[in-house]
């Protein structure tokens, strides 16, 4: 069979619709996992052993169980206990929870990398605990962890393709439909693969630029 991409031309609007859904799901999941990751990261670095333990268990569980199993757990399990939400919401929630585990790890190591002297200086200045966390710890930790956060988010974009298994027609799901309509699976999935690679590659370049920009005042080598 010839490698012919022109047959895809009339399916591009449909694929773009899927891409739009992927974008929505990923944006919401990035926000969700960032919020969750910040909270859990703070718990993991807190002085309370109980919070610490709880957060560690959460991260341990969601990092060591495949995302597709988590997704099925939520997708099939939630209706069982009377919560009826659509596939999109389930997908975003599952992505956020799984992403939150990875994000919290990054944020935790960002917080642990802060020079204790900085925190001590803030403490002797008489700042409140919450102020220290918001104004001193978070800016430093977040700025230093832009790049690792970026790779977590790139992973999130790639993981979002799994949402197609719960009937959500995002980019991969709609490509599946196009492939079965045109009988040209090779061309469709090849284009899809290149599209995902280009997208995530661009995202990681942008993240790298952001990282360098935010850390431009740091010493050479620390960036």
């Amino acid at each position: 069979m010839k490698f012919d991409l022109s047959i895809l031309a009339k399916h591009i609007p449909f694929l773009l619709e899927g891409a739009w859904l992927t974008l929505q799901a990923c944006t919401l999941a990035v926000i969700g996992s960032l919020v969750l990751g910040l909270a859990v990261g703070a718990m993991r670095t807190s002085a309370s052993p109980l919070l610490n333990r709880l957060a560690a268990v959460y991260v341990d569980i969601f990092r060591n169980i495949p995302f597709i199993v988590q997704l099925f757990f939520f997708y099939f399990g939630l209706p069982e206990i009377g919560i009826y939400i659509d596939a999109f919401t389930t997908g975003v929630v599952a992505l956020s929870i799984a992403g939150g585990a990875f994000t919290s790890d990054v944020i935790r190591s960002g917080i642990l990398a802060i020079d204790p002297g900085v925190i001590e200086a803030a403490q002797v200045s008489g700042l409140k605990k919450s102020t220290i966390f918001r104004r001193i710890i978070l800016p430093i930790a977040l700025r230093a962890s832009i790049r690792p956060l970026g790779s977590v988010f790139v992973n999130l974009i790639l993981t979002s393709s799994i949402l197609s298994t719960i009937t959500l027609n995002e980019l991969t799901g709609s490509a599946k439909i196009v492939a079965s309509n045109t009988f040209r699976p090779f061309e469709v999935y090849f284009v899809l693969l290149v599209a995902y690679a280009a997208l995530t590659y661009t995202v990681s370049i942008l993240i790298g630029m952001l990282h360098r920009h935010l850390n431009r005042h740091q010493a050479e080598g620390a960036v």
Binding site: R63, F72, G77, F186, Y189
Partner: protein, 223 residues
């Protein structure tokens, strides 16, 4: 009549699924190790053209969803090349390639972690290129790589769950079947998740043990 209850045979089924997952995990890891290391060696010797191609392929495989790669191999290749690809073959090809891409990155940085001066010293002693690679670089690079490699393998174990989508009878697929039969998603997916979790912990533990052995020569032995 519906057979909606759990039977003792379900445990056998789950263990069978776990066996399939494990077998695929181990075999694709070994293939991936061989290919990934070979790619890294190609880069180490700076083979013209080939090194660039390898870098490009690895980048493409790392930056695209495994699910799409799986579809490309399972649905795309048979249609394009007019060959038959069974689900298991497609799974082996995809997972090996994906593992290879990530192992390539680890191997490259592991090789680079060995100082240039050591290589120069070895050259001065008249060692051949192969001897340098085998006797000087490999042992040190292996000790360096085992940590990141363990992390990668825990991740790759979870990636194997995706092959259930193309119909390989792995642990996730068994979970899916049990879920559809018994309609008890919480029990089924908790059991599946627990099995994955235990396996991931086992992989991490084995990696830790192996790392200790490889680093034994630098370990603190006491005075």
């Amino acid at each position: 009549m519906r057979y909606g209850d759990f039977t003792p045979f379900d445990i056998v089924l789950l263990l069978q699924g776990l066996g399939v997952s494990l077998a695929l995990f181990v075999s694709t890891t070994l293939i991936g190790l061989v290919i990934g290391t070979a790619w890294a060696v190609i880069r180490f010797y700076r083979v013209p053209v080939l090194a660039q191609i390898v870098a490009f392929i690895a980048e493409l495989l790392k930056n695209s969803p495994v699910l799409v790669q799986l579809f490309l191999v399972f649905f795309g290749l048979p249609a394009f090349l007019k060959i038959n690809v069974t689900p298991t073959e497609a799974a082996v090809i995809t997972l090996s390639g994906n593992s290879a891409a990530f192992i390539y990155v680890i191997a490259v940085s592991a090789i680079e972690s060995v100082g240039r001066d050591q290589i120069e010293a070895a050259r001065v002693f008249g060692l051949t290129r192969w001897q340098i690679l085998r006797r000087v670089i490999a042992p040190q690079a292996a000790a360096f790589a085992i940590g990141p490699l363990t992390g990668l393998l825990v991740n790759q174990l979870q990636v194997t769950s995706l092959i259930s989508v193309i119909g390989v009878m792995d642990l996730t697929k068994v979970g899916n079947i049990l879920n559809l039969r018994t309609l008890k998603p919480f029990i089924v997916w908790t059991a599946v998740g627990a099995l994955y979790y235990l396996t991931a912990k086992l992989v991490a533990y084995a990696g830790g043990r192996f790392e200790k052995r490889l680093r034994a020569h630098t370990a603190w032995r006491g005075l």
